[in-house]
Amino acid sequence: MHFFEAVRMALRTIVTQKLKSFFSLLGVLVGVTFLIAVVSIVQGMNVYMEDKFANRLIGLNTFQLRRMPNIQTGDTPEETWREWQRRPRVTYADADYIETRLHTPALFSRFCSERLRVAYGSKSAKGIDIAGADAAYFQIKNYDLASGRPFTPQEVQAGTPVVVIGDLLAEKLFEGVDPIGKPLLIEGLPYRVVGVVEKQGTLFGISMDKFAVTPFNAPVRSRICAWNTLDEFHVQAANPASMVAAMDEVEAMMRIRRQLKPGQRSNFYLQTAEAALEGWHKIAAILFMALPGLVAISLVVGGIVIMNIMLMAVAERTREIGIRKALGAKRRDILAQFVVESATLSTVGAALGIGLGILLAFAVKAATPLPAAVAPWSVGVGVVLGIAVGMGAGIYPASRASRLDPITALRAE
């Protein structure tokens, strides 16, 4: 018998027995919904973590020379923590040494920050991230200016008290006033606003626009950096390969400067976006490992339900099978009819599951800052699983149907 005949008959059976069909589809539906939703959300998280989190916090093709990791996911043993605390800080001299000797072309910025108080006129704000940096910092962080200009290397050199502020600060402190050229007090020290950085948005719901950047040598330096030391030294390369090369160079230079013996562990840290994502990748890996199991459980349950429904259908329609056989249906015709019916049933379940899963992913997208990204492969896997479960579950009932004796089947009520 023709395949489309069988599909058409299956669809008609589903339509005439809507409620029963729905319940029999539930297992497959839940399994596939779960698959699509989880994959979409994890993928969305991936995009979010890589695009926003790592590249925003660290910068593209950028690494930071630090005393210890600053982005920690997972537990750090007490001992490791204490070892980190004993490490020497990165110094100006380290930064100068690297900047003058690094072969790989790169941009550099010294960096220190502290949460301080700022004021404009009668308005003030506490806990604002005040950073001291070099002029290349804006490029490294990919900060575009909404208005004004960044500070110049000359201003850094001279320690001119100018400041570039974040969007939120501009909005809250300078409500309705153009902040460019206005005086800003940082911990009581007078600065002049020269630029406003374009809105950066939020990360996990926390605003990324509550900051101000001053030239590294500006007066507030003494409040944000310990004498002669740096929080971080940022190095940005042109591409991932040259970043790796630059990291190797910096590693070697620092080990020489600190007179570390071969085999001795480095007492500094090179923070990369990759490393910051390590914890997330661990979580994602666990989710992806658990996913097949969870989906499999739903699908096995769904398959058993469908098998039962199909066994019931065969029992209910014994007479129909007898009629079909009397009219010339061969075993394989009956087998195909019930397998296709089962597969159609299950595929409808999978299709509903795909719809629901995508809906769920978009609901998450709407409700949270996470961008859900529906992975086309997961839709394909969903459809294939639906068909496979239906066929698997249908084979036994269908083979029972196909082996019915036509005389007995015709006598059935």
Binding site: M1, R324, K325, A326, G328, K330, R332
Partner: protein, 234 residues
């Protein structure tokens, strides 16, 4: 080839029921010509139903030969039998045996689906079969929207649609009132006149009387086989 449609020799059918052997047919020999109108009669337990099942290729004999339209079907198995049922036999049942959820047209198309006829040709042939039994205006109706007589005519159309060698009717009026029975029997008579070989299995003498040959079975054996040429045109 002779004009024999059915040729049966020493047909035996035994069933094993627990420890007992039941002999439903004990050596029946029978020949039916093309375009005969035969009634097979007999009381219950006579082997009438077994005969009908074997003639309809739903069952196979324990011993003996059955040739249908030049093919020996008594040695065939499952799928080959299904093929013969599809091509050579048109069944009409007492309880109509239509698919309840399918329309008249879809019911009539069913044998053609299994014969692998294309959907366009299928529809044309099914419509013309329905027209032949006077139901050309009922093709979209489902069985529950049709009267008993109309249902049986759908079943007859379905039996005819594959142009079978024999039309095999098992108590075709058993579920119908006398007026409707009359109407259905007229259809059989008309088909016979048009050249169709018709075999009726019945226990009702007045139904059997419409046939031009009556075969009576008793205890699994042929009890009588007589022609009634005077009633042939009934």
């Amino acid at each position: 080839m002779s004009d024999l449609v059915i040729q049966i020799r020493e047909l035996t059918r035994e069933y094993v029921m627990g420890a007992d052997r039941v002999h439903a047919l004990r050596g029946v020999t029978l020949q039916i010509q093309r375009n005969e109108y035969v009634a097979i009669m007999g009381p219950s337990g006579s082997g009438k139903s077994t005969m009908m099942n074997i003639l309809g290729c739903l069952d196979t004999p324990s011993a003996g030969e059955y040739w249908l339209n030049g093919q020996e079907v008594s040695r065939m198995v499952d799928d080959a039998l299904a093929r013969v049922r599809n091509r050579e036999i048109g069944f009409v049942f007492q309880t109509f045996n239509l698919l309840p959820r399918a329309t008249a047209l879809e019911n009539v198309e069913l044998p053609l689906i299994y014969a692998g006829v294309s959907s366009k040709a299928r529809r044309e042939r099914a419509v013309s079969a329905l027209q032949r039994v006077g139901l050309g205006d009922r093709i979209g109706h489902r069985p529950n929207e049709l009267s008993g007589g109309q249902r049986q005519r759908v079943a007859i159309a379905r039996a005819l649609v594959n142009r079978p060698s024999i039309l095999l009717a098992d108590e075709p009026t058993g579920n119908l009132d006398s007026a409707t029975s009359e109407e259905i029997m007229r259809v059989f008579g008309e088909l016979h006149r048009q050249g169709q070989t018709v075999i009726l299995v019945t226990h009702e003498a007045d139904i059997a009387a419409r046939a031009n040959r009556v075969v009576v079975l008793r205890d699994g054996q042929l009890a009588s086989d007589r022609l009634q040429p005077d009633r042939a045109a009934a």
